[in-house]
């Protein structure tokens, strides 16, 4: 039984111009101790789908799913009290903006202590010891002094370490990291990722890493979910994803990696932006930006083939880097991406 089992997750927001489907048809099944990654550009609904899992979306959001279970417990059926026992305790989350994710009015120690008190209990002294331990574990120098610090006295990297200490304080079985390094310096990014992976290995917890950086995916994850405009377009283990991307969007993301661009003068990009609420195209949501799109793609919304393990949301999934789409014939010859340039490997 998977630790986190999500089938057909949809999130709709009530807006002034009607319902907006921010996430639709997302499936994730994370087993114990696995490292997963969710990738996609901004606006792909990566964060929203995980916030929905945690139950952290505002009340304007309508969350529905065919199945949403944590360790066999149906998250949709639980009372809010039961759900709060899981959230924070067994399943915790860290966020994109560490500086604003800590409450400015309380010390680091108070905020960690509050979490331990909520889920583990113990005497004040035990909790204090544990908080000091945690701070040391996430690599904060001089924990005895830092524990009394207020968030505004910490740098971004330190704040994220505190957030991580807090998130792992109750020995969660699943940690969701929502772009944990986006707001940090490049040098700090690597340290934080390393820390997350080390903690994951030490504790054996499962990790879901939300990112838009394919390089990060290659270095960390075992399984990858690719999302585009709220839809899950592809789900594969990382090796086959990098070797044989099935969805044209995944292929385009991979080809934008400098390592895979080969000796071209300019990095390939994906023209256009992720469609928002008001400019969603008909048919496949990716069709305006897809090099292989046909008339069929512009008219009919694709569904994943039932026998496709990657559940690719495409009319013409790529086979070994070659699109069977009739439109591919024109682009295939000058298509450097489908040539076997694969310096970046998981």
């Amino acid at each position: 039984m998977a630790l986190l089992d999500i089938e057909g997750l949809s999130v709709r927001f009530q807006t002034s111009s009607g319902l907006f489907a921010a996430v639709e048809g997302v499936n994730i099944n994370v087993d114990r101790g696995e490292v997963w990654s969710i990738v996609g550009e901004s606006g792909s609904g990566k964060s929203v789908s995980m916030l929905a899992t945690m139950g952290l979306l505002p009340w304007t959001a309508q969350v529905t799913a065919d199945k949403m279970a944590f360790d066999g417990q149906d998250l949709q059926q639980l009372s809010s009290r039961q759900r709060r026992r899981i959230v924070g305790g067994e399943m915790s989350m860290i966020f994109q903006e560490p500086m604003s994710s800590l409450n400015p009015c309380f010390t680091v120690g108070t905020q960690i202590d509050e979490m331990i008190k909520q889920h583990l209990g113990g005497s004040r002294k035990e909790r204090h010891e544990r908080a000091l331990d945690l701070l040391a574990q996430v690599g904060i120098p001089d924990p005895a002094r830092r524990i009394k610090a207020y968030p505004h006295q910490l740098s971004g990297g330190m704040s994220q370490r505190v957030m991580i200490a807090m998130a792992i304080s109750c020995n969660p079985r699943l940690l969701i990291a929502d772009e944990p390094t986006t707001a940090l310096d490049v040098t700090i990014q690597a340290q934080i990722l390393e820390l997350l992976l080390r903690l994951q290995e030490d504790t054996g917890m499962a990790l879901i890493l939300i990112t838009h950086d394919m390089g990060v995916v290659a270095e960390t994850a075992k399984h990858v979910v690719v999302q585009y405009a709220g839809r899950q377009v592809e789900k594969q283990d990382v090796k086959s994803l990098f070797a044989n991307p099935r969805h044209p969007y995944t292929e385009a993301l991979l080809s934008a990696l400098p390592e895979r661009a080969g000796d071209q003068d300019r990095l390939p990009t994906i023209p256009g932006v992720v469609p928002g609420q008001h400019d969603r195209p008909t048919g496949c949501l990716f069709n305006p930006r897809c090099r292989y799109a046909t008339e069929h793609c512009r008219e009919v919304e694709p569904v994943a083939a039932p026998d496709d393990p990657a559940r690719t949301l495409c009319h013409y999934p790529l086979e070994d880097g070659i699109s069977p789409s009739p439109a591919a014939a024109g682009v295939a010859r000058d298509n450097p991406q489908s040539s076997p340039h694969r310096e970046v490997r998981p």
């Binding site: 924070g88 989350m93 966020f95 604003s100 409450n103 979490m115």
Partner: protein
């Protein structure tokens, strides 16, 4: 923290000097003359007028008069009232506790109702409760105090007979003033009947005076709560699995209070200004009523002295608010 206090205190000095100039000039800008008002309808001879004017020191230049006033002020001497001839300081101090008691109760009423109302409105944003709280508070804010006071007197005092119309305590009780607070003095005297009577007399004026601050506090609390509820750290608090009560009352309210406390501090000045109207309506024997009397008699020393003292109190309260602000907000303290 000590340095922070010193800086704040130093900032008060120019403000205070400005206040003395305004207070001094304000009453002299009003048409009318204290001597002519005292003389009444029969008038006064020119010689006698000049004699009195010299006696009161009003024959000297305005600048000289101002510096006399300032000199006295530095010695804690605000001069004598032209009407009662007793020191302005004594007159003020004997009445100030009544005003302070009324203002404190009004403020307590405003905070005790306004703060929870604002929090509830924010939590139930867009629901009926929110619209009700905001509608009622807008009405409260828009109402002239004197009109609202008269309405309440008509309903509760005249028609229903629930509360007394005016005064501080029933004439059946005599309480020796110790603190000048009728409620505290009656408790000190161990007289429960007097205590309840003083509360009974206090309730309506306190509600009238507290209505506008109540509305302001409720609205400020709501908007401040809504702002903080959208912060990342509130999401973090919820991600910790805390109860929504704790998320709202600890993580959100604590941060929202920072701006609410500032607004409460500003209300103190408005309370003292509002007290003038409220005290007049309820014949409350405080400084508000005393100031009105002093103004209508052109009692220059009383008016300028009273204004300076009130301004001084408001300034001290705002200093206290700044300190409270530092206590609530660690970003200021450190």
């Amino acid at each position: 923290m000590f340095k922070f206090l010193l800086v704040k205190l130093a900032q008060l000095v120019p403000t205070f000097i400005g206040v003395t100039i305004v207070a001094f000039a304000f009453i002299r800008l009003l048409p009318g003359d204290p001597i002519l008002l005292m003389a009444g309808e029969r008038g006064i001879s020119a010689e006698r007028y000049a004699e009195l004017k010299a006696q009161m020191g009003f024959d000297r230049s305005l600048v000289a008069q101002y510096f006399d006033f300032l000199k006295g002020l530095l010695h804690g001497d605000l001069g004598n009232s032209l009407v009662t001839h007793s020191p302005v300081m004594d007159e003020f101090m004997s009445r100030f506790p009544a005003t302070l008691e009324l203002s404190l109760f009004a403020l307590a009423f405003a905070v005790i109702i306004g703060l929870p109302a604002g929090v509830l409105a924010a939590v139930k944003r867009g629901k009926t409760l929110d619209h009700t709280v905001m509608g009622v508070s807008l009405t409260g804010y828009s109402m002239p105090i004197f009109w609202w006071g008269l309405l309440l007197i008509m309903l509760f005092s005249s028609t229903l007979g629930w509360t007394p119309v005016s005064g501080r305590i029933s004439f059946m009780y005599f309480i020796e003033p110790v603190t000048g607070f009728m409620t505290i003095d009656s408790l000190l005297a161990g007289d429960w009947g007097a205590f309840l009577s003083s509360l009974h007399y206090l309730i309506l004026p306190a509600i009238v005076l507290g209505t506008i601050p109540l509305a302001v506090i409720a609205r400020q609390t709501r908007s401040s709560m809504l702002e903080v509820l959208g912060e990342d750290y509130v999401r973090t608090a919820r991600a910790k699995g805390l109860s929504s009560f704790r998320v709202i009352m600890v993580h959100t309210l604590r941060n929202a209070l920072i701006s609410v406390v500032t607004v409460i501090g500003l209300q103190v000045g408005l309370l003292l200004a509002g007290a003038i109207l409220t005290e007049t309506i309820f014949s409350w024997p405080g400084i508000g009523k005393w100031m009105i009397d002093a103004i209508s008699r052109r009692d220059y020393p009383s008016v300028q002295g009273g204004l300076v003292l009130i301004a001084f109190i408001v300034m001290i309260v705002n200093l206290l608010v700044d300190i409270a602000y530092g206590v609530i907000n660690p970003r200021i303290r450190h």
